[in-house]
């Protein structure tokens, strides 16, 4: 299975999805959660979708307001996210101090 290049920002997005893996998520919501701007977030979402790690669908909103695009990880995406995050975690833990106040 081909996977895209996983950058630290992509990891952030995958982490955002994996918190509630079954839920459909909005772009702006993901942006706020990960702190990524639209110019960074959307290319990641487009790439994940291209590799079929993400599925997208339109949902109707109130009348007069355009529909919204929502996203969720596919089963493949979920598996890749878990693998990549578990690979990344030990490395990120090394960077944290061994002891901290509180």
């Amino acid at each position: 299975m081909k996977t895209p290049r996983i950058s630290p920002e992509t990891l952030l997005v995958l982490e955002g999805f994996i918190e509630r893996p079954t839920e459909w998520r909005y772009g702006y919501e993901l942006s706020r959660q990960t702190g990524l701007k639209s110019g960074t977030l959307y290319p990641i979402l487009m790439r994940l979708e291209k590799y079929a790690l993400l599925e997208a669908c339109w949902v109707a909103t109130e009348e007069g307001v355009p529909p919204r695009h929502t996203y969720r990880l596919t089963p493949n995406g979920l598996e890749v996210a878990r693998t990549k995050l578990s690979e990344a975690r030990p490395r990120s833990m090394v960077r944290q101090p061994a002891f901290c106040n509180g």
Binding site: M1, K2, Y26, G27, Y28, S31, K37, S38, G39, T40, Y42, P43, L45, M46, K50, Y51, A52, A56, V65, P66, P67, R68, H69
Partner: protein, 559 residues
């Protein structure tokens, strides 16, 4: 109020980006637009729209370069010009009109000349690579020889870089028409090292006995043979005496003629006769002027005369001192009055200033206040540093910076014309091949991009042609005036401009010198292999793009 305006601006920006985006990314654009309604705060909304537009623009650019990128919902002949056949036809019509207008420029002689000047540096490189530096002159000389045309031969003789060929042609020209003997003087000024110099000078001195030029050239050759390169100091006593005698003869001469006006007259006759309207070869290949060692020798000899006058003055021989000073003043007046170049006028002025200063002191000593005041005025007037800023004939009117800038514009415009023409040929070929029913999908896919390339290249071609024409037109007038009317007042501007077109635009002079040293003074073979390598790489890259475009399939869906 501001909030509403910012929100509106953000919406318009994102909508515009969606409009130009490739079809497969428009859904993503709409997704970003949908979210914009939920972004809180006007500035945050604007930033969201800016970031989103950036993503779409990037996708647009990528899809223009690689049309198949991410294009899973591929529709044949889709893309920028796909939705409207009328739009595509309009684009092609505008492109055709621009190409036609650009081609019409070639009907104008100034434009043809401008284009030739613009591509001359590249033409020159290939000539150097082929080790054939002067093919045009060689052919012109052959024609002149065939027609037994002494003026044509003299025209080539004063321009040839090869000294032996220059000597051969000059002798043939003088054999056919003895009145062209002055050509010897110009050839010696260009190639002072030739063996025939002393024989020719003797002949010239018999022909034009009063001309200061020949003793000056003779004195220069004595200093050159006796001194190491770059040093002007005759070491041998006999040579020093001979040198002083030659310089004294020059300072006593009643006329000075460098024959540069005869060269201009020769241009007027020969250029139309052979239709040789090449400003670079006619005006810029040779810069006619007195060699710097001759000017320096004049100043050195003038200084020695001033010192000798001061010695006589100290001994009380005021008449003898005055004669010495006047020799310098007369020679300065002669060079200034009869010289043709800015360097000659400048030298004449500085020699006069050098002479009038001690003449003023001498007049004061003699109690002649009227003469003293006159000499004081003349000394200050001709002082090259503090004196009046005279406009010498033959000086640049536009200024060196303007010439350099115009040269860069002409070079870049010429290159752009070639580049856009190449792009047009490729894009039109793609459109022709793509219009066939059995065209490969790759060609079909490339058609919208090819339409865009036709439009932009045609506009670029027209713009470059207009720029080239307008920038070069003043220089065309200068060349025409010099050739048809013999008025070379602005030749210096043309020469500076043409000189600048021989260097790479926008690159500091030192780097240009380095490039010149690397490419022009080394082996011509190296230059040839360098450009052959660049050309082959270009062809290889182009072939790779064409193969990918024509034979490539739309990308299969990723797993």
């Amino acid at each position: 109020m501001l909030e509403v305006q910012l929100r509106q601006a953000a919406t318009v920006l994102l909508e515009s980006a969606i409009r130009i985006a490739p079809p497969h990314t428009r859904d993503w654009g709409r997704a970003m637009m949908g979210e914009l309604n939920y972004v809180e705060g006007p500035w945050a909304g604007t930033l969201w729209a800016l970031g989103s537009s950036g993503v779409l623009v990037k996708q647009t650019i990528v899809s223009l370069i690689i049309p198949s990128t991410g294009n899973r919902d591929f529709i044949p002949d889709g893309g920028l010009f796909a939705r409207s056949a009328a739009l595509r036809k309009a684009a092609l019509a505008i492109g055709a009109a621009c190409v036609l207008a650009a081609l019409l420029f070639f009907a104008a002689p100034p434009f043809r000349q401008a284009f030739r000047v613009a591509v001359e540096p590249w033409h020159r490189m290939y000539r150097l690579a082929a080790n054939n530096h002067e093919p045009d002159f060689a052919s012109l000389a052959r024609r002149a020889e065939l027609h037994h045309d002494p003026e044509g031969l003299a025209f080539c003789a004063v321009r040839f870089q090869n000294p032996s060929e220059s000597v051969r042609l000059a002798e043939e020209a003088v054999r056919l028409d003895p009145n062209l003997i002055w050509v010897y003087a110009v050839v010696i000024l260009r190639h002072p090292e030739i063996r025939e110099a002393s024989r020719w000078i003797a002949t010239l001195e018999r022909w034009d006995a009063q001309n200061a030029l020949f003793p000056l050239i003779a004195a220069e050759s004595m200093g050159r043979t006796e001194s190491p390169p770059g040093v002007w100091a005759p070491s041998n006593q006999d040579v020093e005496s001979a040198w002083r005698a030659a310089m004294a003869q020059a300072f006593q001469a009643s006329k000075f003629d460098d024959y540069f006006d005869r060269v201009a007259e020769l241009n007027r006759k020969v250029v139309p006769r052979y239709h040789y309207y090449d400003p670079y070869e006619v005006e810029s290949r040779i810069r006619l002027d007195l060699p710097s060692p001759v000017i320096e020798a004049s100043e050195r000899f003038a200084l020695s005369l001033i010192h000798s006058g001061q010695d006589l003055e100290a001994k009380g021989d005021l008449k003898g001192a005055s004669e010495q000073y006047w020799k310098v003043a007369h020679y300065g007046q002669l060079i200034d009055a009869e010289g043709h170049t800015a360097k000659e006028h400048w030298s004449g002025d500085s020699l006069q200033a050098m002479a009038y200063k001690p003449l003023k002191a001498l007049a004061e000593k003699e109690g002649n206040s009227t003469d003293a005041a006159l000499f004081a005025y003349l000394s200050s007037k001709f002082n090259p540093i503090t004196g009046e800023q005279r406009e010498y004939p033959g000086e640049s009117a536009f200024g060196h910076e303007t010439s350099e800038r115009n040269a860069a514009v002409v070079q870049v415009s010429g290159l752009m014309i070639i580049l856009f023409s190449g792009l047009l040929v490729i894009a039109i070929s793609i459109l022709i091949v793509g219009s066939r029913r059995r065209a490969r999908p790759g060609v079909q896919r490339a058609k919208p991009v090819a339409t865009l390339v036709v439009l932009t290249s045609a506009v670029g071609l027209l713009f470059s042609s207009i720029t080239l024409y307008l920038t070069y037109r003043p220089y065309w007038y200068i060349f025409q005036t010099a050739i048809l009317n013999g008025d070379g007042a602005q030749n210096r501007d043309l020469q500076e401009f043409l000189g600048s077109t021989q260097t790479l635009p926008g690159i500091p002079h030192r780097i240009n010198v380095l490039v010149e040293a690397l490419f022009y003074s080394g082996s011509p073979g190296f230059l040839f292999y360098f450009w052959a390598g660049v050309t082959l790489l270009g062809v290889f890259g182009l072939a790779l793009i064409v193969i990918r475009r024509f034979l490539g399939r739309p990308h299969s869906k990723a797993p």
